[in-house]
């Protein structure tokens, strides 16, 4: 828990080993199946990357961002517009840059506002970007979509998304060890104190939002070859933003790996619902969202932690540090 060990602790080593083993197992998936399970695996990996990136920012700040679709779409369009002219890795970087720049602009404009305004602003922004892209496309290219032809198959996309997820985790871990991570802990506890001990709170939040936006942009760029034909409505699909929030909250945002706990079951559920009841996905999302906020506001990992605390105090051992929501 302590933010500043410069040497790895035992716990970190163990977590690293478990993580590496899981990554290897996951990486082998395409060897066993190239069809249904791989497609499901791509979806899970996609949302694992998106939700973890989202949590980098929203976990410590408690700001709910609905702009994921905007960052994602910018990444997708970076590839869509440039695929005939530039190498793919460079386009992925451009996607990251676009995500970061947009996040920076949003941050400067809104992070001084309180939570509710931020949510509405990000939702409106994603919609605005989508409309602007549609408009720009119809004016300039006079077509509605872009074709992206590459040699990538589903398994390549899976591996790229897996690598991205690992990268997000490593980044999150490095942030937690850094001054920025410690600053976010202080801000999460008491923003007034944070300012008075010398933390530029707005700057810290903006940097974090930009990192988060860059990763979501990368995810969008990686997914562009999967779509093959890109339209504003699919690249900037607001459902992405909502699913990211629902899954991350379901898992819990206190720990970096929390969202994963929500991503895996919920992606499978959504897959099932889309296959069997394609017209009712919004209803399921809505109900899931309400249920999560009402019944498990701290997510599944929050529940587990609570249960552990209770168990320990019942067994007479000193209770672990309470991890309740900060006022």
């Amino acid at each position: 828990m302590s933010p500043l060990p410069f040497n790895l602790t035992q716990e970190e080593l163990r977590a690293g080993a478990v993580g590496a083993a899981l990554v290897i197992v996951a990486a082998l998936l395409p060897v066993f199946d190239q069809a249904y399970y791989l497609a499901l695996g791509v979806n899970i990996m996609l949302y694992a990357a998106l939700c973890t990136a989202w949590t980098l920012f929203s976990g410590p700040t408690h700001y709910i961002s609905l702009a994921s679709a905007a960052f994602f779409g910018l990444g997708t369009y970076s590839v869509g517009l440039g695929i005939d002219h530039l190498p793919f890795p460079l386009l992925v970087l451009i996607g990251a840059g676009c995500g970061a720049v947009l996040a920076g602009i949003v941050g400067v404009a809104t992070l001084r506002l309180s939570g509710v305004y931020f949510v509405i602003f990000t939702l409106g922004l994603a919609e605005l970007v989508r409309q602007l892209v549609s408009w720009g496309q119809s004016k300039i290219t006079t077509r509605m979509g872009l074709y992206v032809f590459t040699d990538f198959t589903e398994k390549h996309i899976f591996w790229m998304l897996l690598a991205l997820t690992v990268l997000v985790f490593i980044t999150g871990w490095l942030i937690n060890r850094s001054r920025l991570g410690f600053a976010m802990q202080v801000i999460g506890n008491d923003e007034t104190v944070a300012r008075h001990v010398g933390i530029d709170t707005a700057r810290a939040k903006i940097i974090l939002f930009m990192i988060s936006g860059a990763f979501i942009g990368i995810a969008g760029a990686i997914c562009a070859p999967r779509y093959a034909y890109i339209q504003p409505n699919s690249a900037f699909n607001p459902t992405i933003s909502f699913l990211v929030v629902i899954m991350a909250l379901l898992g819990g945002t206190k720990r970096l790996w929390g969202p994963l706990v929500g991503v895996i079951p919920f992606t499978i559920l959504m897959d099932f619902v889309t296959a069997k009841f394609p017209n009712h996905t919004s209803i399921v999302m809505g109900i899931a969202f309400l249920a999560i906020v009402y019944f498990i506001p701290n997510g599944v990992t929050g529940l587990i932690e609570q249960a552990r605390t209770k168990l320990r105090s019942r067994m007479g051992a000193p209770a672990v540090k309470p991890g309740e929501v900060q006022p």
Partner: protein, 243 residues
């Protein structure tokens, strides 16, 4: 004569029509412990908030070692060397004692990191009487211990000026003695301190000088005994008829 550690020059703060701080001026010398006193609602905390950057002055200037700091953001002022405690104690509840104090050492006037910050935090916890309790969650601490944490956090930045906002308020008589001797130690160490306080005993024992405010205006300044016996001060505290 050396430059004052902090100068407040015709500082003013208005909230709509209400003038909370009305053209107040005073200097704090290097190594001085200045008491800032006055009845409730006289603008002491507002003045402290202007100095620490929690509020922006509506007029006037505040100089830290001759450098203007009035109207800067709170984190800039903290980095330049002003640290404070809060009237209602503010600790970081999900962090342990050591991390609370480290927050002051990492981002403020003295920017340390890693082992150095940790060592400094331990040393200061020891100083304020919390040695050996580095890893106790502060949410489990008593009120005075939380106040000690706050003081250690403020000291961790090695501030050029330390602002104590009713740091002694709410302590029982025994704790009060401990608190007073702690501040006394800081004073002897040569720290420059402004303390807003209602505990008159503490003001008399500790302060070199004091500034008295009433209704946003400075009504007296000088040695504690002199200032407290000025008729206007007596009137401010006790009302007209008793003066």
């Amino acid at each position: 004569m050396s430059m004052p550690a902090l100068s407040v020059r015709v500082a003013r703060k208005t909230f709509g029509g209400l003038v909370a701080v009305n053209d107040v001026s005073f200097d704090v010398r290097q190594g001085e412990l200045l008491g800032l006193i006055g009845p409730n609602g006289s603008g002491k905390t507002t003045l402290l908030n202007l100095i620490s950057g929690a509020l922006k002055p509506s007029g006037g200037e505040i100089l830290l070692g001759g450098q203007p700091i009035g109207g800067l953001a709170a984190h800039h002022i903290a980095q330049k060397g002003v640290a404070r405690t809060f009237q209602l104690v503010r600790v970081l509840p999900s962090l342990d004692a050591e991390q609370n104090v480290m927050a002051g050492a990492v981002f403020g006037h003295r920017r340390t990191w890693g082992a150095e910050a940790r060592a400094l935090a331990r040393e200061l916890l020891h100083r304020v009487g919390l040695g050996g309790r580095e890893h106790v969650p502060v949410s489990a601490m008593t009120y005075i211990d939380q106040k000690r944490i706050e003081l250690a956090r403020a000291l961790a930045s090695d501030p050029r000026v330390l602002l104590l906002d009713e740091w002694l308020a709410g302590l029982n008589p025994t704790e009060l003695q401990v608190g007073i001797s702690l501040i006394d130690e800081l004073r002897r160490e040569g720290r420059t301190i402004i303390m807003v306080e209602h505990v008159m005993d503490a003001i008399r024992t500790l302060c070199d000088r004091c500034v008295v405010m009433s209704s946003g205006v400075k009504i007296a300044e000088g040695r504690v005994e002199d200032a407290l016996s000025e008729p206007e001060v007596v009137r401010a505290y006790l009302g007209d008829e008793d003066a």
